[in-house]
């Protein structure tokens, strides 16, 4: 795929909503053209919970996520490099995005010790000490070979305030510069900085203004979706998008519930990721307009409809809720089947949003 300029990514804005800040774009990456707004399913360890890449292609998924923390541990960057990168390893020829491994800092906080140098973890797999520096994170991400890579940021939970939050914000900027310096493949992989600052508008503004000074291809908005109050969350999102340049994509990390997706698209975000659709499939839950169906529940025992009569996915074309109810309680095949539906659901939602933006009918959609 041809890419313009030196960032391995170019964004073409097709349409803007006249009422909200929503935009519909085409993002061109080395491995794929991605229509935005886009939802990126998460394939943590180099696989999307039982799906083969062909199934994702058939759902017209253009980009998915891999997780640097996990892949850096197993199979490790050396093996991935020998395999020709994660694309070749997992047989996925479209776009990939890797996170930095930093989010695990928040989730494994009692095991992590953060210094200016980097983050010390104790691996939950075998207890060995790991040090993740900005340089190391970029090195692993260079080996993985994703189209978009993330800076290592000093992530703090959105409930944190005061000195720690300010320290994290400044450190994130210093770590960005170290990441940019360490990046070995800038024309093949686009590095995104991450706007931090928690729920503090002043810190967030200062952070964004600093990040914009660096010459990068896109931006991520981080440090949110950690259980904060919705109104605070949305306020920080819209503040961030106001500050970030129009002509570059905005990636809101960790957001994937339908309501949040719609609101944040309206607030000017283009890219989203979340483990929720794939994770909930593993527990036998299918996504529908009204929320989710817990198919393990006995109420579905004689329900012979598909999950969603309007859904064109292979799950809904072939299976009834009643049979999925039985399968979900015993067989791993159900995971693959439900994951297909949940990913299809998310992608259909995004496609519908995008069409409505292009037709300037987004407010009706909402």
């Amino acid at each position: 795929m041809a890419t313009k300029g030196k960032h391995a990514l170019s964004l073409n804005i097709l349409a803007k909503c006249s009422t909200s800040k929503a935009r519909a774009c085409i993002m061109t990456l080395p491995h794929a053209e991605v229509d935005t707004p886009v939802f990126m399913p998460v394939g943590t360890q180099g696989t999307l919970k039982g799906l083969v890449p062909d199934q994702l292609r058939e759902l017209d998924c253009r980009i998915m996520l891999g997780n640097t923390y996990h892949l850096g541990h197993r199979p490790g960057p050396e093996l991935l490099e020998k395999a020709g990168g994660l694309h070749k390893f997992m047989s996925w020829d479209r776009a990939l995005l890797t996170d930095s491994g930093g989010f695990q800092m928040v989730s494994l906080l009692e095991l992590a010790h953060i210094t200016e140098e980097g983050v010390r973890f104790k691996s939950p797999h075998n207890g060995t000490e790991m040090l993740l520096t900005p340089e190391k994170s970029i090195e692993i991400q260079n080996a993985i070979g994703a189209d978009i890579i993330m800076q290592l940021d000093d992530v703090v939970h959105s409930s944190v305030e005061g000195d720690r939050l300010e320290e994290a914000m400044h450190r994130t900027i210093r770590w960005l510069d170290r990441c940019i310096k360490a990046h070995q493949r800038p024309t093949e992989q686009c590095l995104f900085p991450i706007v931090q600052g928690g729920l503090n508008p002043d810190l967030r503004t200062r952070c964004a203004k600093e990040l914009i000074k660096r010459d990068v291809g896109g931006y991520a908005i981080g440090g949110l979706s950690g259980g904060e109050a919705k109104s605070d969350f949305w306020r920080m999102v819209t503040l961030s998008t106001d500050l970030l340049p129009d002509e570059k994509p905005r990636y809101l990390m960790g957001v994937g519930f339908a309501v949040d997706l719609v609101v944040c698209v309206a607030l000017g975000c283009d890219m989203f990721d979340c483990v929720f659709p794939t994770r909930t499939a593993r527990f036998g839950c299918a996504l529908v307009k009204t929320g989710q169906l817990n198919l393990k529940n006995a109420t579905f025992a004689s329900d012979f409809q598909p999950i969603d009569a309007d859904c064109p996915c292979t799950c809904c074309k072939n299976y009834t809720r009643a049979y999925l109810h039985i399968l979900a309680n015993t067989e791993p095949a159900a995971c693959n089947i439900l994951t297909v539906h949940n990913v299809a659901y998310q992608l259909r939602l995004m496609r519908a949003m995008r069409s409505s933006i292009i037709e300037d009918k987004f407010p009706d959609f909402v």
């Binding site: 360890q45 180099g46 696989t47 919970k49 039982g50 799906l51 083969v52 890449p53 062909d54 199934q55 996990h70 197993r74 199979p75 093996l79 020998k82 395999a83 390893f89 997992m90 047989s91 025992a301 004689s302 012979f304 292979t314 799950c315 072939n318 299976y319 009834t320 009643a322 049979y323 039985i326 399968l327 309680n329 015993t330 067989e331 791993p332 095949a333 159900a334 995971c335 693959n336 089947i337 297909v340």
Partner: protein, 409 residues
């Protein structure tokens, strides 16, 4: 269902089955295997993924164990088990027990038989059994039978199991006279008797006297036991003697988990229809079939390479490889070079090893595709070999390929 022998090959038969039932299906050649399913679906493979496997058997075996408890739902559904499970174009053969697991002993009596599923025990007398089958509408169905025996079972219990099975068969036949729904379904009689020659032959003779369409020979182990029946010195002669009491023009079915080599042996004793549970058992262990079934073997490099493993077992080659082994970490070749299955066409040993190592479901999806593909391919080769008179060569080739392996079957 109609079966006819086209050609006798030693002790085995090349045959053809006109499946009957709901389908206008074309002739199926034997020896054949059926598609093994768990709770009505191919293990790890939904409808979409199953389509990626070549040469799927026409007949899908579904055990009542995982499904019988849901018969009321399936009855309400009203279109039978094949439609319910999205395997609508397959001929559905219902057996009693899941061929991949052991069956809990001691729960059968002269009133009925216990099958096992997620919810535990489901006991059926002939009346409930027929009700369940009417909800399922199978094309072929195993008669209710008491196969709770193995080589340690005493004579008294063996006699009971044969008697119970015959009584259930007779009660079932009586009930079936009134069943409009099951009119076109083919009843398969079960042959019992454990390891007692007299009981085996009695069971065979008596069952043959009833109007059944085929025979399922069971009762050598209690479900899947992991025992290699061919390692027991009297097994082959016992099976031969049992089959000699059965009519030639009806198929002989066995649900045992058998490797290709064991299938070749069982075929030569007279078995026509096999289960494909064996590739599933391999998949669950992270193992893959890599033998060459062509005569002479085409790809010496694939099957005679030696593999060093970390543990103390000898380097093994031949029919089966273990993708868990650390030697796969940097091995970017497909599981079986030359195999054109979906797994080998797209993924490497290294990737599958990674998936197993990280407990990812996709490992089993890919291995199941490969192992089914290879097992179904083996059956094509078996039929060709029988036709061309090269069975002995096939058996020798398989024995050679197994010889250094940790699998001695």
């Amino acid at each position: 269902m109609k079966f006819s022998v086209e050609k006798v090959v030693g002790g085995g038969r090349l045959g053809s089955i006109l499946p009957g039932g709901r389908h206008e299906a074309s002739v199926i050649e034997t020896p054949m295997c059926t598609l093994f399913t768990k709770v009505g679906s191919a293990p790890h493979l939904g409808y979409e993924m199953l389509k990626r496997v070549s040469n799927i058997p026409d007949v899908a075996t579904m055990s009542l164990g995982g499904l019988a408890a849901h018969h009321e739902s399936v009855c309400k559904f009203g279109k039978g088990l094949g439609n319910f499970t999205a395997l609508k174009s397959n001929i559905i053969f219902t057996t009693l027990h899941d061929a991949s697991s052991a069956v809990t002993s001691g729960k059968n009596d002269r009133n009925g038989v216990a099958v096992w599923g997620k919810g535990g025990k489901f006991k059926m007398d002939p009346s409930l059994y027929v009700k369940v089958q009417e909800a399922f509408r199978p094309d072929w169905f195993q008669a209710l039978s008491d196969g709770d025996t193995d080589r340690d079972t005493g004579k008294k219990r063996l006699v009971k199991s044969v008697n119970n099975t015959l009584d259930f068969l007779d009660s079932t036949l009586q009930l079936l006279k009134e069943s409009e729904i099951l009119r076109d379904s083919s009843l398969i009689g079960a042959i019992e008797g454990g390891f007692d020659e007299e009981e085996r032959q009695r069971s065979a003779r008596e069952t043959s006297a009833r109007p059944v369409h085929g025979f399922l020979i069971e009762g050598f182990e209690k479900g899947h036991s992991g025992l290699d029946l061919f390692s027991l010195e009297n097994f082959s002669s016992l099976l031969t003697k049992t089959l000699s009491c059965l009519p030639e023009d009806k198929p002989r079915i066995m649900e045992t988990a058998w490797s290709p080599l064991q299938v070749v042996k069982a075929f030569q004793l007279g078995i026509d229809v096999f289960s494909s549970v064996y590739p599933y058992m391999l998949t669950q262990k992270g193992q893959a079939l890599v033998a060459d079934y062509t005569i002479p073997p085409k790809s010496p490099s694939a099957n005679l390479e030696s593999e060093k493993s970390e543990d103390s077992s000898p380097p093994h080659s031949g029919s089966v490889i273990d993708l868990n082994g650390k030697s796969n970490f940097e091995d970017f070749r497909p599981v079986l070079p030359g195999c054109d299955c979906y797994c080998c066409s797209n993924f490497s040993r290294s990737y599958i090893h990674h998936l197993l190592n990280t407990s990812e479901l996709l490992a089993y999806v890919l291995l199941m595709i490969h192992n089914f593909h290879q097992y179904f391919h083996f059956f094509c080769c078996l039929r060709n070999s029988a036709r061309e008179g090269t069975l002995e060569d096939l058996q020798t080739s398989l024995e050679l390929q197994n010889s250094c392996s940790c699998h001695t079957s």
